[in-house]
Every structure is written in structure tokens, then in C-alpha cells.
């Protein structure tokens, strides 16, 4: 036997060839795994939806087609006839919200109104508003209880509804890797639900816990669906995307008051145009002791809390 002969070669399969084969197989497997979602996409996502552009890049005709498609999808999936529109921000309007903590009694009617108005998932009691029961003299949200279930208001507590603060410098927008969320000229931070990839970075970035994730496909009986919908606000969200309070822009951009304000039985909520010096919300800023939540973070919320006296 030739001492220089390679013992591997004599077996007919070199180490190099074997490793090549393993590498090719791994590569093929990884590729198959990577394109696996593509083989499934026809089931829950249409071709049009798959190639849909970012909201800001849509032409008016594109948008018209998409809104029509979304209306048809809602009819097919939920059995409800809805109207989905796209309302643009108004010139000279910047929305602000103020909430009177001396008056709020913690009844959660605002959260319920949000739940109904914005077509939230029924089983999870989803809502953009979380009402914290706080001990008087404390401002520690970590110790606030959002799950109280007893008659309110308790004498030693105050109640603090927290929803999206529509920050001037929104950290949720900064962290979005795909620019699926942005701040509109009227101050509302919106989400393109069809562009969101569901990474939940924004949920982690928000110091107010204002963002919500659709863990499941929202379940809503057809009769309970609010048919007055808009693309950037209360249309039924797909599974796996983020959503958040949008100051009911389908109402407020048409001059109406937000649903949570109308539902408040105590009149604790004040809404209006921050650029109009005569607006109610500006009266709050001018005449009341106002504070914003977590002011030290420097995010400049457009949501204000105040006390009487």
C-alpha cells in the first residue's frame, strides 16, 4: 500500500465532499424555512396587500383601491358593512387633551367607550385607556392598580386614566425600524397597520404603556362593529400589529369630540385645538395647575393633567 495515499480517498468520499454536501443541505433547509411564509401568504394575506406600499407613498387612487379592498375584507371576515375612509389633518389644528384629576371618579366609562368606538378585540377587553387607581399623595404609576374592581371613588385614592400622550418627541416613532408609525401635522401619532411588522419595539419604547399589540385576530360580533372607520384609526386591525390611541381621528378630524370625552359622566375631559387661544384646552393651560406625565423624560406630551383650585 502506498504510504502517501489518502485513506479518505480510498473510501470514495472525501471529507471535503461530505462537508460540501452537509453545507448544501443546511443551506437548502434554511432557504426553505425562510421562504416558508411565502408559501402560506395566500391564506391570510392577499397579493395586493402583500405588495401594498407605505401609506405615505400611496397615490389617491391607490388609497381608494385599498380602502375599497379593506371594506370588502371586513365584509368577508366579519360580515359587517363598513365604510373606511382616510381623513387628513386640518390646517391650523393641533390637538391637545386635558384631564381633570380632581373630578375623575375612576368609572372606566372612557375605556369602555374606546373599546366600542375603536372596534377593539372583545375577549381581551382591549382599550387604549388604562385607568390607574393611585394612593393620594403618590405619583408612582408602578404602584397604580389598573385592575381594581370595587365601588369608586375610594376616599383615599385618586384615579388617573392614561392613554397615548401624543408626545412632541415620540420615542415609539424613533425606534420603529420600518417607519410604520409617525407623527402627523395635527399632533396625532398614527400607525399604518398594513406596514407594521409587529416587532413591538415601540411598545417597549413607550414610557406610558400606551401601545397595544394584537396577539390574536380581533374578535368582534358583526352587530357591534362601528361602521364609521378610517385607515389610520379604528378599522379592524390585523393580527400581529401594534395599535394605539389616535385621539379618535376619524371623529376629531371632522370636528367631533373624541368618544372617551363624550362618554365621561363627570366631565373630567377637555379636548380642543392647542393653536386656538380661545379653545377649551387652552383655557386649561391658562387657568389651571397643569402637569404632564413623566415630564423629566422630555418627550413633551400633548396630554395634560390638571387639578381644580
Amino acid at each position: 500500500m502506498d504510504p502517501n495515499a489518502d485513506p479518505q480517498k480510498s473510501r470514495g468520499l472525501s471529507r471535503r465532499t461530505a462537508l460540501k454536501g452537509v453545507g448544501a443541505m443546511l443551506g437548502a433547509a434554511a432557504f426553505a424555512r425562510a421562504i416558508a411564509p411565502l408559501t402560506e401568504w395566500t391564506r391570510d394575506i392577499s397579493a395586493e396587500e402583500f405588495v401594498q406600499k407605505h401609506y405615505k407613498e400611496l397615490s389617491p387612487i391607490d388609497l381608494e383601491i385599498i380602502l375599497h379592498r379593506l371594506e370588502k375584507d371586513t365584509k368577508k371576515q366579519y360580515g359587517a358593512d363598513v365604510t373606511i375612509k382616510d381623513y387628513k389633518p386640518q390646517q391650523g389644528v393641533k390637538f391637545g387633551y386635558a384631564l381633570n384629576l380632581s373630578i375623575c371618579n375612576g368609572c372606566r366609562k372612557c375605556a369602555e367607550a374606546c373599546h366600542i368606538e375603536n372596534n377593539h378585540d372583545r375577549p381581551s377587553h382591549q382599550s387604549y385607556i388604562r385607568v390607574f387607581e393611585m394612593s393620594k399623595g403618590s405619583m408612582n404609576l408602578e404602584k397604580g392598580n389598573a385592575h381594581y374592581d370595587h365601588p369608586v371613588p375610594q376616599p383615599d385614592k385618586f384615579y388617573m386614566p392614561v392613554q397615548c400622550q401624543q408626545c412632541e418627541h415620540p420615542p415609539c416613532v424613533d425606534v420603529c425600524p420600518v417607519e410604520a408609525t409617525w407623527k402627523e401635522p395635527d399632533g396625532i401619532v398614527v400607525v399604518d397597520y398594513n406596514w407594521c411588522i409587529g416587532c413591538r419595539y415601540c411598545e417597549a419604547a413607550c414610557p406610558y404603556h400606551a401601545r397595544r399589540f394584537n396577539w390574536t385576530k380581533p374578535q368582534i360580533p358583526a352587530v357591534e362593529i362601528n361602521p364609521n372607520q378610517s385607515y389610520l384609526s379604528n378599522r379592524i386591525r390585523p393580527q400581529g400589529v401594534m395599535e394605539k390611541c389616535h385621539f379618535c381621528l376619524h371623529r376629531t378630524r371632522n370636528g367631533r369630540l373624541p368618544a372617551c370625552l363624550e362618554a365621561c359622566p363627570t366631565g373630567a375631559r377637555v379636548f380642543g385645538n392647542l393653536l386656538d387661544p380661545k379653545s377649551e384646552v387652552r383655557q386649561v393651560l391658562a387657568h389651571k395647575r397643569v402637569f404632564v406625565l413623566k415630564e423629566d423624560l422630555g418627550l413633551k406630551p400633548q396630554f395634560f393633567y390638571f387639578f381644580d383650585v
Binding site: N100, I103, N105, G106, C107, R108, K109, A111, E112, H115, P123, S124, H125, Q126, S127, R130, V131, K143, N145, A146, H147, Y148, D149, H150, P151, V152, P153, E203, H209, R212, W215, T252, N254, G255, R256, L257, L261, E262, C264, P265, T266, G267, V270, F271, G272, N273, P277, K278, S279, E280, Q283, V284, H287, K288, D308, V309
Partner: protein, 215 residues
């Protein structure tokens, strides 16, 4: 001009005299009623502003007499039905002192007595602190005598719930009056049960901290 752009809802011609009285009273108090408050820019531009309607009471209240008519409906009577023939007892301070009618009416409103607000000369009207009478429809004038800070906030749109439009160029607005939310005999908000609590995964119920394990 301003009244034309922001009209006050008048329910009946009789209410008009009450309204004039209300305006006169509020002028005297140094405030304008909500309906006639001037709006900046309303006259400068051509935009017509929609009206802000205050949900005033429609008239004098009716009280259940305790009797029922032939089809079983309760017979409602106005205050003057009984009070024109009975003389006011000035010693009666609360409903606990009564031996007939209005018994059991929950009354928790400071140290006021019935006749602090009810007009003994005409029970179909209310009585201001200076003994002038005021219509039930203008009850806000009465409440404002003591609750000035609430009236001030109401004038600015910061007190009392509302419905409709924030932008009055696009639509009107309905505002509450005092007694839509507050029972005048017991004005403090009652305890209520909150509606459903959230069930999302982030905000799990806060549990008391577990006792530290011994090491």
C-alpha cells in the same frame, strides 16, 4: 350680531323673560351666560358657528303623588298643587322633619334648608339668596351663587360634560346643566361600580410582594 352667530335655544316664550333675568343676574355677577359669550373670530370671518345648546330643564318639575290613575300610571303633580294651600313651616329644615310627602328624599347639601332654594311665595319657581325668584329652567343661576368656581370653569368649558363638536364651525354642541349630573338634593357623586377591567398581558394584577425566602 353675536347673538345671531351663536343663538341661545329658547324653549318657550315664557323662558325668554327668565333668560333676560338670567343675563341681568350674570351681568351683575360679572359673567356672561354661555350662550352669549363672544367668540373670537366669529365676527371677523364669514364662518357661521353652530350653536352650543345647554340642556336646560324643560319646565317645573313634577312629583309623583303616590296615587295611580285608572290605567296604573303614577299621577304626577306640580309643586303648586299642594303648596298653594299649605303654609310653609319655617322650622322644617330637612326631610327627616316631615310627617307627610317628600319623606325619604335623600338630602345632603350643606346646611341649606328646603326654603334656601325653594320659593315659599311661589313653589313653581326657585329662590335666590336675595329672595328674588328664578325659574326652574335657569337653575344654573341659582347654583352659581355658591359654586362660583364651578360656574367660572363652566363658562370656560372646563366643567360639565358635553357632546358634539369641538370645532363649532363643523357642528353644534350640547352641554349639560348642573342638575344633569348632580342631584340638587345630594349633589356629591355617588359611588359607582367601574366597568370592565383590562385583560391585556402587560398590566397583570399587582400582587402583594412575596415574603423574602430565607437564605
Amino acid at each position: 350680531m353675536l347673538k345671531a352667530t351663536r343663538p341661545v335655544k329658547r324653549r318657550a316664550s315664557t323662558a325668554f323673560s327668565g333668560l333676560l333675568l338670567l343675563i341681568a343676574t350674570l351681568r351683575a355677577l360679572g359673567a356672561d351666560p354661555e350662550g352669549t359669550r363672544p367668540v373670537e373670530g366669529a365676527t371677523a370671518t364669514n364662518t357661521t358657528l353652530h350653536s352650543v345648546v345647554i340642556r336646560r330643564p324643560t319646565g317645573t318639575p313634577k312629583v309623583a303623588s303616590g296615587l295611580t290613575n285608572f290605567i296604573g300610571q303614577p299621577v304626577m303633580v306640580s309643586c303648586s298643587s299642594c303648596h298653594t294651600t299649605t303654609t310653609a313651616d319655617l322650622d322644617t329644615r330637612t326631610t327627616a322633619d316631615l310627617d307627610q310627602f317628600h319623606q325619604g328624599l335623600k338630602y345632603v347639601h350643606g346646611n341649606l334648608t328646603c326654603l334656601s332654594c325653594h320659593n315659599a311665595k311661589n313653589y313653581d319657581t326657585l329662590r335666590m339668596a336675595d329672595s328674588r325668584s328664578v325659574e326652574f329652567t335657569d337653575v344654573m343661576t341659582l347654583c352659581s351663587q355658591c359654586h362660583g368656581s364651578q360656574r367660572r370653569d363652566y363658562g370656560m368649558g372646563l366643567h360639565g360634560g358635553m357632546n358634539g363638536h369641538w370645532d363649532l364651525t363643523k357642528g353644534g354642541r350640547t352641554r349639560n346643566t348642573c342638575i344633569n349630573c348632580h342631584d340638587p338634593h345630594a349633589p356629591a357623586f355617588p359611588l359607582v361600580m367601574p366597568v370592565f377591567s383590562p385583560r391585556d398581558r402587560i398590566s397583570v394584577p399587582i400582587k402583594p410582594p412575596a415574603k423574602p425566602a430565607k437564605h
